[in-house]
């Protein structure tokens, strides 16, 4: 048993820590916005827009939940502005969830072996590995949700309500899921005391509710994300859309074959959210679990995600991974050695795709602004103006896609700007000025070239031939695929 736990721990730590600062390559838009807000809070007590200690971070229009940022803030202050630090809370949350899933499984089945299987399976689940290696708020919320559910099963009224409500401060999916779980779980586990349970939960969630009602931003964001905000939506169309989405979130193809979008779209090698041999024990497990609350939990889990617009989101639906893993562990009793060998082969296959192919194939969608930030820092004193194009990707002549980035956040985070620079930004037309930096679309047809003015453009927008003699190229930067991604030019 001891050996098994140690082995589990090694695999868990390795799969979540190995090259975590470079795979996924660079911080994503969501990660950098959390990172910079955490830095800004640590240095000034205000977010990038100058809001003091907000409960909802407007960020770049995405209105992030606050918990991750506040946990990250002291870490950034102490350990510095690096990718590893930004992802650290998620890594730790992922590792702790592995322990908690075991506790929940034991509480459900009272079998130590199933508890062990649950933890072991979560360790090797691609969905959870992926989520734990990035600064996803959803992964932090998953930890608190699981812990809250564990205390609910232990009939600990106070701890359960407090921790479940904390998960609502961690990610927006829990805004609906937690009330549903507290409603059903409260009735099942607390009987007549349920009113107290609900009241504690309501009081603790009140600040979120008040912030939501008083602050127009999160409400506006929520409205555009939900299925009823679609044009011409009526009750019938909403219901149909919900059923379609719900089915999509439980689609075996997405769960077992190609839901983990770490490769380019429609690549047949894309792995599933769970390792595909798990399909067998999951179905075997269905008949074995008799606990009503477990089924309510599993069936409620994809509800919030199914109410949102857009393609399948493995992050919005992340909370489903825990009940699905427990279901698999319960069904594993009848599985033989051949199945375990298959799991091993598929796991190695996944490792190969994740650690080898993912950074290469999807390198273009991750912006390599960190080296640019360091380079610009070294030349900053020699110039007064640096223009940065926010578009990236090889979109020139229709050769590739054009992406919209938020380079100012990468520059601000990795160059450790004084937060007052972002808080006092100047917006003129489509351009935003942060001290020496101008972020906007660089149009080479306009009269913008001045001596010693720097321009950062992607390979999709190189200088036109007629202006090249007025410029000199001072640096180029590759993306994780090894292809050139950015060029830095200076006016002669």
């Amino acid at each position: 048993m001891k050996k098994f736990v140690i082995f589990l721990l090694i695999i868990g730590i390795f799969s979540r820590l190995y090259k975590v600062d470079s795979i996924p390559p660079h911080l994503s838009n969501d990660e950098i916005s959390i990172a910079y807000d955490a830095y800004s809070i640590a240095m000034s007590g205000k977010d990038e827009h100058g809001n003091p200690y907000p409960l909802s971070f407007p960020s770049y229009g995405t209105y992030k939940a606050p918990l991750y940022t506040y946990i990250l803030s002291p870490l950034v202050y102490i350990f510095g502005n690096t990718e590893l630090v930004v992802r650290l809370p998620s890594i730790i949350a992922g590792l702790l969830t592995i322990v908690i899933i075991g506790l929940i499984a034991f509480e459900l089945t009272k079998k130590r072996q199933i508890a062990m299987w649950s933890s072991a399976l979560l360790v090797i689940t691609p969905w959870h590995i992926y989520a734990s290696r990035m600064a996803w708020e959803a992964n932090l919320a998953l930890l608190f949700l699981s812990l809250g559910i564990y205390f609910l099963m232990k009939k600990n009224l106070w701890l359960s309500s407090i921790i479940l409500v904390i998960s609502m401060y961690a990610y927006h999916t829990e805004w609906l899921l937690v009330p549903l779980i507290m409603f059903a779980g409260g009735i099942i586990y607390f009987g007549k005391k349920v009113w107290k349970y609900w009241l504690v939960g309501f009081v603790l969630a009140l600040p979120l509710l008040i912030d939501y009602l008083l602050n127009a931003g999160p409400g506006a964001r929520a409205k555009t994300e939900m299925i009823w905000s679609a044009e011409g939506a009526n009750i019938f169309s909403i219901l149909i859309e919900f059923i379609r989405n719900y089915a999509k979130y439980l689609n075996p193809k997405i769960l077992f074959l190609n839901g983990l979008n770490i490769l380019v779209k429609d690549n047949p090698f894309t792995p599933g959210l769970l390792l595909w041999p798990m399909i067998v024990p999951i179905f075997l497990g269905i008949k074995k679990i008799k606990n009503n609350f477990f089924w309510i939990w599993l069936l409620f889990s994809p509800v919030t995600a199914a109410l949102t617009i857009g393609d399948f989101s493995l992050i919005r639906n992340l909370n489903t991974v825990v009940p699905l893993t427990i279901l698999t562990a319960v069904g594993i009793g009848r599985i033989n050695k051949i199945w375990w060998s298959l799991v091993l082969v598929v796991l190695i296959n996944f490792g190969l795709i994740y650690f080898w192919h993912f950074p290469k194939e999807l390198g273009e969608t991750f912006q390599g602004y960190r080296p640019i930030a360091h380079f610009l820092k070294s030349v900053e004193d020699s110039t007064n103006e640096i223009f940065v194009d926010y578009r990236y990707g090889n979109y020139r002549w229709g050769l590739g896609k054009e992406y919209s980035g938020i380079p100012y956040l990468y520059l601000a985070f990795f160059q450790k700007w004084d937060p007052s620079i972002t808080q006092n930004r100047i917006i003129k037309g489509g351009e935003i000025y942060f001290g020496k930096y101008m972020i906007g679309q660089i149009d080479w047809g306009k009269d913008i070239i001045r001596p010693n003015r720097y321009f950062v453009v992607s390979v999709g927008n190189p200088p036109e031939e007629n202006v090249k003699d007025k410029l000199e190229q001072v640096a180029t930067f590759d993306n994780a695929s090894g292809k050139m991604a950015f060029e830095v030019w200076r006016g002669k």
């Binding site: 490769l263 080898w356 194939e361």
Partner: protein, 153 residues
């Protein structure tokens, strides 16, 4: 239930109705099987010969230079087509065609252990999925005799 209604309102005896039911089931099964054969001949171009698919697979293998050439071509090529077929087949049932009726019926047939029908329907769905640009809306109707036959006890 239907048998009871027929027994009340027709001149057939119970035995005759049972024989009739059996024959209807067999006829549906035969029609469904014939339609499956026709579907097989109607496949124009399998998806694994599609240009984009081939290009994606080849590009992926180019990035696979940490593994021996033989391993990566044999291993990947053999497994990936099977994986794609399974995925596309599941999608046909699961993507909400005809308001999920085929999916609900399929699950019902499995629960009732009508394995012949289940097997032939799976075969039919695989055939649909092999087509480069499958038209599940049209071809799922071709499988309706198999579903109907499964519904009859």
């Amino acid at each position: 239930m239907f048998l009871g209604i027929l027994l009340n309102y027709s001149n057939f005896s119970l035995l005759e109705l049972l024989v009739l039911r059996k024959w209807i089931k067999i006829i549906f099964l035969l029609v469904g099987t014939v339609l499956l054969v026709i579907m097989t001949f109607k496949i124009q171009k399998p998806f694994w010969r599609e240009e984009k698919y081939v290009e994606t697979v080849v590009n992926f293998q180019k990035n696979q230079d940490i593994l021996p050439y033989r391993f990566r071509t044999i291993w990947w090529n053999k497994t990936i087509i099977v994986k794609s077929i399974v995925g596309r087949s599941i999608d046909i049932l699961w993507s909400g065609n005809y308001f999920f009726l085929p999916l609900v019926l399929f699950i019902w047939l499995m629960l009732k252990k009508r394995w012949w029908n289940v097997g032939l329907i799976i075969l039919g769905i695989i055939l649909i999925s092999i087509e480069k640009d499958p038209n599940p809306g049209k071809y799922l109707l071709w499988l309706s005799p198999l579903f109907l036959s499964g519904l009859i006890r």
